[in-house]
């Protein structure tokens, strides 16, 4: 299936935000974190999960597809890079296109920034900063085989459903064994646009 990538295991996440802090330390966008920490059921549960760039494969990187300046490059191994500083015009198209809400715009610099799977680190055999520090292994970096060797029986899914649209991603999510064949619900179905019921 997949090569070395990030696996997200929400069951292990303790909501500590070490990943958020670590991402801020990463050299390619120092001072800004590209990770969101989400709470799935606030008020009732302490459950949380991190969202990193999912490095969409099919349809290939919606952020890159919509970029009018061709600033977002995708490498041969499927890593969706952050915007090329010499090309990005800061138009925010990518922000709107991303189904996971990942890219961020630095309005002053007129520059998009996003997770690039710590290309600067992985190129030297280091894991991305977030997956390195995550104290629980909720963010795991490696191959599926490496993950399964450590967590016998673990199952992952790499497609996400946004309404009827299914996005297949380079980053995968640990899911209950009986849910492997199903896309992970990627967002609420759209029921209303500007007050009009569009169901």
């Amino acid at each position: 299936m997949m090569g070395k990538t990030i696996f997200i295991d929400p069951g292990r996440c303790i909501g500590c935000q070490a990943c958020v802090s670590a991402c801020r330390e990463c050299d390619s966008h120092r001072g800004k974190s590209m990770i969101h920490l989400d709470y799935t059921d606030p008020g009732q549960s302490v459950a949380s999960l991190p969202t990193v760039c999912m490095h969409c494969e099919d349809p290939v990187a919606p952020c890159a597809e919509v970029c009018p300046a061709d600033a977002i490059l995708i490498t041969a191994d499927g890593v969706v890079q952050q915007a090329d500083t010499t090309r990005c015009i800061g138009c925010s198209n990518c922000v709107n296109a991303c189904p996971f809400g990942v890219p961020k715009i630095d309005l002053q610099a007129k520059l998009q920034m996003k997770c690039n799977l710590c290309y600067d680190r992985t190129a030297y055999g280091l894991a991305p900063m977030c997956a390195t520090v995550c104290p629980t292994g909720a963010l795991f970096y490696g191959t599926l085989e490496e993950l399964q060797a450590e967590r016998p029986g673990v199952q992952v899914a790499d497609s996400f459903a946004f309404g009827d649209v299914v996005v297949k991603t380079g980053v995968a999510m640990v899911v209950p064994a009986d849910k492997v064949q199903w896309p992970v619900p990627g967002g609420l179905p759209v029921v209303e646009v500007n007050g009009v019921d569009v169901r």
Partner: protein
């Protein structure tokens, strides 16, 4: 320095990790930029994660890089990641501050002026009221060398019996219990043993937030199929996924554990062979637990009786079981006894001294373990010797070169010293690396105690709330500007290395203590140029004791990445796991099981105060927050405290809620969540008044460990109309509060909900 790892003992996800330190010089950006990576450890909690500090060409610390040390295998929590930012922080104190009375403003003075004034005040107070009228309060964030110096300074230079430390607020209950049961004061097993266990019981420890990096060991055990039992009034992140989560009422732990043992006895699940061979006192314990039926425990603890049975069966059925606990059961007026009931449980099931089977206490402070081992605690001398034991006194006097008659006797504990300040028995105080204005219970009493003191000096690198009340503040080094050792929660001694020169005007604590000693006429006993020279004396002073450091040297620590004491000779590998030969450190070699009877918490419930208030940490902040409340990323993560309340009280998240105890009342935004018992509220304690949990907590102490009962007091909650603003951390005159840390201090709730407990309302 990369440490060879035992792959069979790697927590999940770390097996294929390598760290930047091992990458050839031409490959890694660090080297390309001319920066260096200095291997050291995190300055915060008792896990003591290994890290590299990134140092730029100019010799300044500017970043952090994960390090593959076998405590943490590159993992770090947000505190560890942000810690480097305090080294060159604009709030750093860089000149001694002084004022002759508290009505004056601080002014920056020379080191000579500050030291002269301090020494003249010590002499004035001691000649008027006696030597014991001047006290010393140390800290468990100091390197062990410095804690050794604090104890020696108090007894030889200050000639006072009044010395204690803030580890008193941390794990002394566990220490007391371990000493009573095993004759040794430390955890029985290394963290890596957690990976080998079949059943893990966590009592009173929010591991996910307080010791985040330990979580990887928990999840590793779970990967192998270990069951997880969590005892906590709150559904914490680890309780959420536990097989059994017992949400008992705060202050009822001893009743619960007695009842668990009751079931184990009744169902013949004890390990009789182990009990016969290794334990004394079992018959008495057995007779006592017979009184604690699951039904009785259910009533006291406010839980279903079936949970008691379930915990008993799960723990006793496991081939190898472990129990780890922390402040949740230790911060009580029967903290020692709570820990003893856990030890009884491990002993009765034969779960002591084997890989994957044992007990441990998780230290809150970086050097909570090492901080008391070498004489900083009021009743201890170096090597964990008792100051009341003739033989021990003689041994230390010989090493220190003083007459036994010159060595003071035992003093009182930290909280008791504050009461003595109120009563004018102690009239002057030096505080080193502690912040009682935030960290001690019953703030009004603490403030009154300090205000009553005639003279108060404080060592720190930021102006803490306590230092802001002092007459003299000495600006001292951070952990990155000196070298020294700390002992983590496993009793593994690790070495911190120096990454940069201190800023101009800043001195090491060692230098200040030795200089004060010299000016007090004890210079010959304090001729220590650096940490290493202190460590050499500490090694010798601990030789032959239970806390034996003699075989540990700086060189060996750098080579091995850490050695667990006892380590009696330089060819001894250290002792990561205790009692493997079946013997404890009592002369008879047995585990001394102790009878415990549960008693109610000290603050009684009544119609005005029907609920329990409990307190604890958040993941983003460390202790009194003097350090972490100044770091932008951490402040942004958790800018202010809140009160966690159950939905049954009818509040919405964000509503102002007044929490009233017999000591005072304060208003916090509500965080409405089902993750807490309906009869209990929780407030994180890292902030000063008017948002201080410790303005409400009670200063009742455990009679043996003298630890305050932070974890339970009676309270009521009521609607209020406005939320108190969190004050900015104090800064020296002329220093502006660091703008990055001023975000959202007035917002009703953190921008991201702490630990997912949720800002959304269910209604």
């Amino acid at each position: 320095m990369t440490i060879p790892l035992d792959p069979s003992l790697a927590p999940p996800g770390t097996r294929n990790f390598r760290d930047a330190g091992g990458i050839p010089a031409d490959k890694w950006h660090a080297d390309q930029n001319g920066e260096t990576l200095v291997p050291t450890h995190c300055c915060f909690c008792g896990v003591q994660c290994g890290m590299y500090l990134r140092v730029d060409k100019g010799g300044k610390v500017f970043g952090v890089e994960p390090r593959n040390h076998d405590i943490n295998r590159m993992r770090l929590c947000p505190k560890g990641i942000n810690a480097y930012q305090q080294v060159n922080h604009p709030d750093r104190l860089t000149a001694p501050l002084m004022r002759r009375s508290r009505d004056e403003e601080f002014r920056e003075v020379s080191w000579d002026e500050a030291l002269d004034f301090t020494v003249s005040e010590i002499k004035r107070i001691q000649s008027a009221y006696g030597n014991d009228a001047f006290g010393l309060l140390g800290g468990a964030s100091l390197f062990s060398e410095k804690t050794y110096l604090v104890g020696k300074f108090a007894r030889i230079a200050l000639k006072s019996k009044h010395v204690d430390y803030n580890g008193r607020l941390c794990m002394v209950s566990a220490a007391g219990a371990n000493k009573l049961a095993f004759g040794i004061d430390r955890a029985g097993n290394p963290f890596s043993d957690i990976l080998l266990t079949d059943c893990l019981l966590i009592a009173g420890s929010n591991v996910g937030e307080c010791f985040p990096v330990m979580t990887q060991y928990l999840w590793g055990a779970r990967d192998r199929g270990a069951s997880l039992i969590v005892i906590d009034p709150r559904e914490t992140a680890i309780a959420r996924t536990a097989d059994i989560h017992v949400a008992l009422k705060p202050g009822t732990d001893a009743a619960f554990f007695n009842a668990v043992l009751h079931v184990i006895v009744k169902e013949n699940l004890t390990d009789e062979d182990f009990l016969a061979a290794h334990c004394t006192g079992w018959d008495e314990v057995k007779a006592k637990v017979a009184e604690y039926t699951p039904e009785r425990a259910a009533e006291i603890c406010g839980i279903p009786a079936s949970q008691v049975v379930q915990v008993a069966r799960t723990f006793a059925a496991a081939d190898k079981a472990m129990a780890w606990h922390a402040r949740g059961i230790e911060h009580h007026s029967q903290g020692v006894e709570n820990c003893l009931t856990v030890i009884n449980l491990c002993a009765a099931t034969g779960n002591i001294g084997k890989p994957g089977a044992g007990y441990g206490t998780i230290t809150g402070q970086g050097n909570g373990q090492g901080g008391r081992e070498h004489g900083q605690k009021s009743d201890l001398l170096p090597g964990g010797r008792s100051i009341l034991n003739e033989e021990h006194r003689r041994q230390i006097c010989e090493i220190w070169g003083i007459e036994e008659s010159e060595l003071p006797t035992a003093g009182t504990s930290m909280m008791e010293m504050i009461w003595q300040m109120q009563r004018r028995e102690i009239r002057g105080l030096i505080g080193i690396c502690n912040n009682p204005f935030v960290s001690l219970p019953n703030y009004a009493v603490v403030k009154d105690g300090y205000d009553t003191a005639e003279f108060h000096a404080q060592f720190d690198f930021f102006l803490s709330e306590t230092a802001a009340n002092a007459h003299v503040v000495f600006p001292v080094t951070t952990w990155a500007e000196d070298e020294g050792v700390m002992a983590n929660a496993e009793a593994r001694v690790v070495k911190h290395n120096k990454a940069q020169e201190p800023p101009a005007g800043v001195r090491t604590d060692t230098w200040v203590i030795c200089e004060l000693a010299r000016r007090l006429g004890a210079g010959d006993k304090f001729a220590f140029p650096d940490s290493r020279s202190v460590f050499e004396e500490l090694r010798v002073a601990s030789a032959g004791t239970v806390n034996d450091y003699y075989g540990i040297t700086y060189e060996r620590l750098e080579e091995t990445g850490g050695i667990a004491w006892p380590c009696p000779s330089t060819d001894h590998p250290g002792t990561p796991r205790l009692f493997e030969d079946g013997r404890t450190y009592h002369p008879d070699g047995t585990i001394h099981m102790q009878v415990v009877d549960w008693h109610a918490p000290m603050d009684p419930y009544d119609d005005d105060h029907p609920m329990s208030l409990t307190t604890g940490r958040t993941v983003a902040h460390f202790l009194s927050g003097n350090q972490t409340r100044r770091l932008g990323g951490l402040v942004e993560q958790t800018p202010r405290p809140w009160v966690e309340v159950h939905p049954s009280h009818g509040f919405k998240s964000g509503d102002p809620v007044r929490v009233v105890t017999r000591r005072g009342s304060e208003v916090f935004p509500a965080l409405v969540t089902e993750a807490i018992r309906p009869d209990t509220v929780f407030i994180p304690y890292h902030w000063p008044v008017p948002t201080a949990a410790n303005a409400l907590t009670i200063d009742a102490l455990d009679p043996r460990s003298k630890i305050p009962e932070y974890k339970v007091c009676a309270c009521r909650i009521e609607a209020a109309d406005r939320i108190d603003e969190v004050p900015a951390p104090p800064t020296a005159p002329g220093h502006q509060a660091y703008p990055e840390t001023q975000v959202s201090r007035t917002d009703p709730l953190p921008p991201t909900s702490p630990q997912g407990r949720g800002t959304a309302d269910r209604s």
